[in-house]
Subunit: 565 residues, 2 copies
């Protein structure tokens, strides 16, 4: 492809409104342009990368026997009302009316439609398991679209859905997809971690998110430095410490802690460390008040707490709810004399060697507290937010934190959609049963951005070979020099004949501009035809390492083929 | 692919609401399902065909140097307001508001967005010509979605746009796209005609539509039986007849024609043939009244009349407008004594040997009319609707009528969009000029339906090899027979190893069901493993001709390869 008439408008200046690297680079290097907030046009260079990402995704999914189809973007509202998501999804769901006033959804995902299709198309367990997928444009009205392709309102997703007669069959497909995703992201040149994630609002069970590690990631993950354990912060656990019996140096005693509204303030007034104070938090778990105890220097993980308590909704109680129930301010609560409110304690509280706690009387704490004797709990659970340095729950290594971009997710939906949409099959005994379902997503355009986040330097993008728009960037440094021009055309023809994808900079620009643009655009191999053209020598630069080689034209194609292998 | 777990739910009964063959067959054979009126899911079989259509489209466009990109479906309303189409497109344009209340368009086409991108990305004539395209889902809120994929509300289009510094450059690209389209539709196995079409509301100049010939087509085309002349009925012309001097057997005379409201009624009362009467029609051409004269047995072609008169809008005058101006009913109008209203006559009126016409007095006609003497016209023009049997305008053959499905269109937009959206480049002299633009569309999903309309028989679809979902349909007639089962598995493995796409019917169904389904689904080659399995003999049937062959397994792969060439 000749760059002189290629539509890749580069920008000299840093785009003002782009605050992450991938967004900046894709704008500067002419890969994309914004059409509206969170809505982009993918220019020819980006389109080539997207094709390659899609091809890898298709290849690995087809290997598993998954079948590609395409479902529409317009869905009748009735389906979403039936599943309950018409209301659940709120403002993120783009709605519209057709000319007859009928309500439609511009779809962000396809559980409803695929469940309807399978319900109407598959009657018997004999056709199961079934795994279908599509690569398709999705719409989501983000409140604050940002970071370019990382959080847009129109984006490309691979979404897949599997249907099963048993939970075991679902578990097999889940594992198969998990493995396929690993292969896909590896081939795409990404550094990633599959992490345990929260099934939350989707209403399913097991789920893993695939996280590309990157500073700009919006999610924090905790991972072991010595095993493959990794989880989203909201789901991360650590090894529970060995319980100890606290040293109680005196009798239970109430001490004034005037105006102590935090654990730290109380600790200071009591002459103790924060970790010696029981942090008592009151939450509303599915409408019931519950007191949760944490070690003073720990934080509550609400997601884990909801899971551990087995409730759907969990929120912090308001100050008013606290005062009405305990007759004390939130800073003075504790498990002793707290009325009928059930108490749960985090495992880490069992490792406390000294214990003080609020007295349920504003401005007072108890010291010399003995668990079991002075207070009892319903159960010890895991609801603390893990901290860097905690022991990994598998006992191997300690936890570290990293930021990640969610590029994929595998999810056991169970019967959430087949039940609400009455999708049933007949089992071996002719009995109607709801399908077990899994769903599997990859953010195709988000992957594009994530690859750039992981593969760039100060000069521009550094494409991995597998997804580079072109393998080779051929520069004719001075198009007015006859020898250079002729050799460049010759090399261009040779590369094309060898089926090597090449972008040919045949523009009437200065050499410096061409070198700068080549680095910015980021092809793996740069071939510059310059002063040594009359000797049939070209200069080859590896974008990845920066290594440069003078190579004779005769050996060039072999060198390139070899390098690209 | 094993059919036992392939998602292609066939239907035994004719679907009730499908009234064209392609729609019926795609539903019955499990290629697609409706999700809402005019909105479909493409199941795995159809998806395979779509991939093949797209690959052919890409290959031929890439050959011309056109560059693929992807523009978004969501467009800010401002762009469409600027181009004027926000109002022009009326109810067909799907509109929506985002969470902040901003207006968006769900796009049916991309002239606005691409013009904006090129405006902002291309500054100089040096980067021209430029030809970009995308293959993308489009949305159009059809008043009456029907005929399955032929008139849907969500469909896949290839749309392309070219940008030029001169009209000549545009003409070159237009011809290049015209030729590429011919290659594409030929490779897709379609019988088609490029026809001269009306540029109408798109506001451009030259345009050709590519019509797949089919009875269900919504458009009528007129074509020569002896040349490649073809045009939409609304644009078709014929050779103007040689002018004659009418025989006038007496003097101009006014005759009563009471209650004659049509040419035929007047002719009967006057004892003349309809073709002897001047049909005088009054139209409103850009707000001015104009009288048009046709031979009595001809019909007005309003599109041609507007073009010939050089006006943008043309409509029939109302009866009231006629009465107010002429003081007579529409059935009694003529060019004699018609006041100040300008008169244009169709060429065919010059071939009339006897002429009568309305007297502009209700219930009266003139006979013995001499043109030039009794009335004059501003000019003779071509605005009659052609009739089958007319001479082709190129003088070769006569016109025939056929029905067609519009599968593609090439269009010279000129500067319609670059002017309204202020898209300019600098020419060689540094002068700012609006881009000349062309646009080029192919209805990908409509092509899918058109291929089926042209390739089916009473038993089902008969795919052309180039776009068949699978090349081979392999049937194991009795999966309980060990020899058959074993041979079928062997042949399946051999076909896969030879890279031949194969759908393998391994279902526990009767042979009759399998044969019926194979015909319905329509793969080019059917291989049945049956009674002669123990002799290593299989039965091969060519779907296209119905020819059957007993072939030894040893020779099978070579036979298939050879047949598919």
């Amino acid at each position: 492809m000749r760059q002189s008439t290629y539509f890749a408008p580069t920008m000299r200046d840093m785009p003002a409104d782009a605050d992450v690297k991938s967004h900046q680079l894709m704008l500067r290097a002419g890969y994309m342009r914004q059409v509206a907030a969170g809505v982009y046009a993918y220019l020819p260079l980006a389109k080539r990368v997207i094709h390659k990402i899609e091809a890898i995704v298709r290849e690995e999914l087809d290997r598993t026997g998954a079948q590609e189809m395409t479902m529409p973007a317009l869905h009748p509202a009735e389906l979403w009302q039936q599943s309950g998501r018409w209301t659940e999804m709120g403002d993120e769901l783009i709605r519209l009316k057709d000319r007859h006033g009928r309500d439609f959804v511009l779809s962000p995902t396809h559980e409803e439609v695929v469940t309807m299709l399978i319900r109407d198309g598959i009657a018997s367990y004999k056709k199961l398991p079934l795994n279908v997928y599509q690569i398709q444009t999705k719409f989501r009205d983000e409140r604050r679209p940002r970071f370019g392709l990382l959080r847009g309102r129109e984006f490309v997703m691979k979404d897949g859905y599997s249907f099963h007669d048993t939970e075991e069959s679902l578990a097999e497909a889940y594992q198969e997809m998990y493995d396929a995703y690993g292969r896909i992201f590896t081939r795409l040149g990404l550094t990633f971690r599959p992490v345990i994630a929260d099934s939350g609002a989707m209403g399913g069970k097991d789920t893993h998110e695939f996280m590309a590690l990157a500073e700009v990631g919006e999610d924090t993950i905790a991972y072991s430095d010595a095993s493959d354990y990794a989880a989203n912060l909201e789901m991360a656990t650590s090894l529970a410490p060995t319980p100890v019996t606290p040293t109680v140096s005196g009798t239970l005693e109430k001490k004034p802690t005037p105006n102590a509204r935090t654990v730290d303030e109380a600790a200071t007034q009591l002459g103790l460390a924060s970790e010696d104070i029981l942090k008592a938090l009151v939450v509303v778990a599915d409408d019931a008040l519950v007191m949760l105890l944490l070690r003073g220097n720990d934080e509550l993980n609400e997601v884990k707490a909801a899971h551990e308590l087995g409730v759907k909704h969990l929120r912090m109680a308001t100050e008013r709810e606290v005062r009405d129930t305990f007759g004390a301010e939130p800073g003075s609560l504790g498990p002793i004399g707290n009325g009928e409110v059930p108490v749960y304690a985090d495992h880490a509280t069992r490792a406390m060697t000294t214990i003080a706690c609020g007295a349920n009387e504003t401005g007072y704490h108890y010291i010399n507290v003995s668990p079991d004797k002075d207070y009892t709990v319903q159960a010890y659970k895991d609801f603390r937010l893990v901290q860097a340095g905690d022991q990994s729950p598998d006992g191997q290594g300690t936890l570290q934190f990293a930021r990640g971009i969610e590029i994929g997710q595998v999810f056991k939906l169970g019967t959430r959609y087949s039940e609400t949409l009455q999708a049933q099959f007949l089992d071996e005994n002719g009995k109607a049963k709801p399908f077990y379902m899994g769903c599997y997503g990859i953010g195709v355009t988000r992957v594009l951005a994530a690859v750039i986040e992981q593969h760039n330097d100060d000069n521009g993008i550094v494409w991995p070979k597998a997804v580079a728009p072109f393998a080779v960037h051929l520069l004719c440094l001075n198009v007015k020099n006859e020898a250079q021009k002729q050799l460049a055309e010759e090399v261009y023809a040779q590369l094309q004949a060898a089926n090597i994808e090449v972008l040919y900079d045949d523009r009437a620009e200065r050499a410096g501009v061409k070198f700068k643009d080549a680095d910015l655009i980021g092809m793996p191999v740069r071939i510059a035809i310059g002063k040594r053209a009359d000797e049939q020598i070209v200069e080859v630069k590896e974008r990845h390492t920066g290594a440069q080689h003078d190579i004779s034209v005769e050996q060039l194609i072999d060198w390139v083929k070899d390098y690209l292998k």
